[in-house]
């Protein structure tokens, strides 16, 4: 049993070092800004486009009632999207468009859009609620 005694002394030291290192690393490295950046920054290899109708989103979010519909009318085509309302950080028309553009790598300036909600024209700063259906014309 001599070996196990030595082993557990070494093991205790390793565990201590591991715990101290993990706590120190978390303390030194974690920040909400970095976390947000890692979650939301676009890939360096992502193809960028100014056409909001180029990429689609497959399917619908499976969240009852917690969705937002966005339609883009581009020259000669249109694209429809359903977003998970909970994942939109800024709850405005512009915030929803920004989230979708980030997701699809769209570089189009949002001021080149003319958006409507239920036939009524809305601005990018107007608030949104779940189940909204926004339609934007690309100027």
């Amino acid at each position: 049993m001599g070996f196990l005694k030595k082993y557990f002394i070494a093991y205790g030291i390793v565990v201590l070092l591991l715990v101290v290192f993990l706590k120190w690393h978390k303390e030194k490295s974690f920040s909400n800004d970095l976390l947000t950046q890692m979650l939301t920054a676009q890939s360096r290899s992502k193809y960028r486009t100014d056409d909001p109708c180029l990429y689609t989103l497959a399917g619908e979010p499976e969240v009852a009632g917690q969705y937002l519909k966005l339609t883009f009318l581009c020259p000669g085509k249109e694209a429809r999207f359903s977003l998970d309302y909970r994942a939109i950080v800024k709850k405005t028309v512009g915030g929803a468009i920004e989230e979708l553009f980030r997701l699809n790598g769209v570089t189009l300036d949002s001021s080149k859009l003319k958006c409507k909600q239920g036939g009524r024209e809305v601005s990018l700063t107007d608030p949104i609620v779940n189940q909204d259906n926004i339609e934007c014309l690309v100027l």
Binding site: L4, R44, G59
Partner: protein, 458 residues
């Protein structure tokens, strides 16, 4: 004699190198797109866990557990939201403790070293690479283990079958914790077999270390500890093995407590209450189907050959370590249940292929090749069916039909008249030919599985 041994060693070494090259090439080809990126988001989540541990000191990943705080987020690596992932945001949680962190660290470290810094940078082109290396390493480990447990011929066949089986190839690309657990378990078993052969206690200690590491990939890696305990005979060795392996496995607990003790315990409790969704027909489903992701089934006959061979091995008076390993993992597989994802089955494969190799080797060198001939028709028939799907070749069907008819009758006749040596030789030659055809068909079928083919797989 030494020169002969040298020649034999060189030959085996050359063969193994060749099989490793073939196995690696088959795994690399189409590896970026098959399985489709996003078909299992766990692949990205695992890498994100590693990447966030490196950059933030806190693991961040997708959680499937109930009762744990999650943050719906859209992250679109490889543009998965335009292809395989239907619309919904990802349930991101942190600190993420759903599973131990080693698979995350393996794939996340490779991603980090290749310059990935944010989650969307992570792509299958990067993170599947280390898994392919591990899967190729498995070929060598399977060879060594089959060599130590059975015979050189079993080792050759098991390695060749594992290297070329379409199921092992595609499964061996996925960034799933099972693909890290398996090599650790195999190394542990190889060390245990070597320890027994050379009577070396140090090797048992090292085996215990790797058995503990298997748990740090996934909790189901506890099978490496269980099988080790059942294989080791001496009480003192057993105590050391248990003490070392459990202490290594417990590093997961210290890791969790160090990062966020309260959240770690909450996740453990949630994991314990997870719904048992594997179904009561799990064993039947396991033996009769070859699931690869949560939705895709890639038909491959070799696992069934392995299950049949397990039956033959289990009937022997002396309990084989192979039977111990397969049935231990079966017990763990049924216990850990959850939803029956294809990758839960990955740890069965090395042992099923060793069993299949043993069975075929017995057919070639043993007294009764008839059963080997019959079971070989399972994978060969499936492979040929897939290769010639939609393009049936009448001449091939005729060869298969009359060839198998002739070979089975010949094998039967050789058993009725065992004194006719020529019959027995002819049957063995036929069996070898069938084996070569089965392996060749493995390679052709595996090479066929590109992204277009994958869409047709269901």
């Amino acid at each position: 004699m030494p020169s002969f041994m040298n020649k034999k060693s060189w030959l085996i070494g050359f063969f193994l190198s060749l099989v490793l090259v073939i196995g690696y090439q088959l795994r690399v080809k189409n590896s970026v797109n098959v399985p489709l990126p996003g078909q299992s988001l766990d692949e990205y989540s695992n890498a994100w866990v590693g990447l966030s541990l490196i950059r933030l000191g806190v693991p961040v990943g997708i959680s499937g557990l109930s009762g744990i705080a999650t943050y719906p987020s859209y992250i679109n690596p490889d543009r998965v939201f335009s292809s395989t992932v239907p619309g919904g945001a990802l349930a991101i949680s942190y600190p993420w403790f759903d599973h131990p962190p080693l698979m995350g660290l393996v794939s996340g470290s490779v991603a980090y070293l290749r310059g990935d810094r944010v989650f969307e940078d992570v792509s299958t082109a990067t993170i599947r690479k280390p898994i392919i290396w591990l899967s190729t390493l498995n070929i060598a480990l399977i060879f060594l283990l089959a060599y130590l447990w059975f015979s050189p011929l079993t080792a050759v066949l098991a390695a060749l079958l594992y290297a070329t089986s379409p199921l092992a190839i595609v499964g061996g690309r996925m960034v799933q914790a099972e693909n890290g657990l398996v090599p650790m378990w195999l190394i542990s078993l190889c060390l245990l077999a070597l320890a027994e052969k050379y009577n070396k206690t140090d090797l048992i200690r090292l085996a215990a270390f790797f058995a503990g590491l298997a748990v740090l990939f996934k909790l189901s890696g506890v099978v490496a500890i269980i099988s080790g305990v059942l294989i080791i005979r001496k009480r003192r060795d057993l105590i050391e093995f248990l003490a070392i392996s459990i202490s290594i496995a417990l590093l997961f607990v210290f890791y969790g407590l160090a990062i966020d003790g309260r959240e770690f315990i909450a996740v453990l409790m949630s994991n314990a209450e997870r719904t048992y969704g594997i179904g009561l027909n799990a064993v039947y489903d396991l033996i009769t189907s070859t699931k690869i992701t949560s939705t895709k089934y890639l038909t491959d006959g070799w696992p069934l050959v392995g299950w049949l061979a397990l039956g033959a091995l289990a009937l022997k008076r002396k309990l084989s370590p192979l039977v111990i390993c397969l049935t231990s993992y079966l017990a763990i597989y049924l216990l850990f249940g959850s939803v029956s994802y294809g990758w839960y089955r990955i740890p069965f494969l090395p042992f099923l292929f060793i069993a299949a190799g043993y069975f075929l080797a017995e057919g070639i060198t043993g007294l009764n090749p008839l059963l080997s001939v019959i079971v070989l028709l399972i994978p060969l028939g499936i492979n040929l069916g897939k290769i010639f799907e939609g393009n049936p070749l009448p001449w091939l069907i005729s060869i298969f039909r009359f060839g198998t008819f002739g070979l089975i009758l010949l094998a039967l006749t050789s058993l009725v008249w065992p004194e006719k040596r020529i019959l027995s030789l002819a049957v063995r030659a036929g069996l070898l030919l069938l084996l070569v055809a089965a392996i060749a068909s493995n390679i052709v079928y595996a090479k066929m599985i590109d992204v277009n083919y994958w869409y047709k797989v269901n």
